[in-house]
């Protein structure tokens, strides 16, 4: 009777009654309690498969670390860009200065060459005029072509686009 009450109490949510496993004749209720107790102990003794509970935490940590790094990388890149632009401008200013110098030099060379050419031309015209005044024949005048022109013209080595 006591066992029955105990079992009914168990079925209503009470504590699990203790069973006597050594009894030869056991009731259905006791068999159930015994099987249920064994099931509980089996489940409690079952080994939990090995796994890393922190796997996702570690993944998250890595992501957080990565996102924390982004502002530093952005600042570094910005600095790099600013420095590059500064150096580029510096070089461009240098280049424009060189170009100006070259143009000035070319202009001076052209002026010098023109002066030289005009001198040569004046000499040639003067000789031609003299020959004309002396009524020299045309054939004589062709001798003018023997006039030695100073070919050391600084223009000849000058590259003009």
């Amino acid at each position: 009777m006591k066992d029955y009450e105990e079992f009914q109490h168990f079925l209503k949510g009470g504590s699990i009654p203790k069973t006597n496993n050594e009894k030869l004749k056991r009731s259905e209720n006791e068999d159930f309690v015994s099987a249920y107790t064994k099931l509980i102990s089996q489940s409690q003794n079952e080994t939990v498969p090995e796994f890393d509970a922190f796997e996702k935490v570690n993944q998250k940590r890595k992501t957080v670390w990565f996102y924390k790094l982004i502002p530093y990388a952005a600042v570094f890149t910005l600095l790099l860009i600013v420095t590059s632009i500064w150096f580029f401008n510096l070089k461009r200013n240098d280049n424009s200065l060189t170009e100006k110098q070259q143009i000035l030099e070319t202009r001076q060379n052209i002026e010098f060459a023109l002066l030289h050419f005009s001198k040569e031309l004046n000499t040639c015209i003067a000789k031609f005029e003299d020959a004309k005044k002396m009524h020299q024949p045309f054939t004589e005048m062709t001798l003018l072509k023997n006039y030695e022109v100073d070919f050391n013209n600084p223009m000849k080595n000058l590259k003009i686009n």
Binding site: L11, G13, I16, L39, Q42, P49, A53, F54, K56, V57
Partner: protein
């Protein structure tokens, strides 16, 4: 809660969390996933976890909520049904398996609420008040679920003995 305290707490309780998740989901991968997700959520809130409060109950409630959410998803529901059928098939195919294994199989056929209540009460040894806190139900409701679950198992057991 500091990092070290949090890690120690999880290492100490992860098996218990896994068992509870497994009792709901009945799938190793899902149970493992549930534990990892809950640990991640707790890690985010670790600074706000107050040691004076019942962190253990908080963890188990989180496991319950996450596992039930998973179950609600259609895909997992399908898998759940497949697992159930698999369990039934096993039961039909192996008529001679011992009573304990039969009880174990029948445990799977209980409702979620009954199974969770039995798992926490009988298999994990929580008190009714603690289970009430974890499952966010009244003590009477938990007691009723434990009682119904045990009665259901007893009925099946009796039928098996006949």
């Amino acid at each position: 809660m500091t990092n070290t305290e949090f890690e120690q707490f999880i290492e100490k309780n992860k098996d218990r969390m896994y068992r509870f998740a497994f009792s709901i989901l009945r799938n190793h991968e899902d149970a493992k996933d549930a534990v990892q997700e809950v640990v991640l959520e707790l890690w985010k809130k670790k600074m706000r976890l107050d040691k004076s409060k019942n962190v253990d109950s908080f963890c188990m409630t989180a496991i319950k909520n996450y596992s039930l959410d998973l179950l609600r998803k259609k895909k997992l529901e399908n898998r759940f049904i497949t697992n159930l059928n698999k369990g039934n098939t096993e039961n039909q195919n192996f008529e001679n398996i011992d009573l304990i294994s039969k009880l174990k199989n029948e445990l799977k056929n209980l409702t979620d609420q009954q199974r969770m209540a039995l798992e926490l009460k009988d298999f994990q040894g929580y008190k009714y008040e603690e289970i009430s806190e974890i499952l966010q139900c009244s003590v009477n409701a938990i007691r009723a679920n434990v009682s119904r679950g045990r009665k259901r198992l007893y009925e099946i057991f009796r039928e098996e003995l006949k």
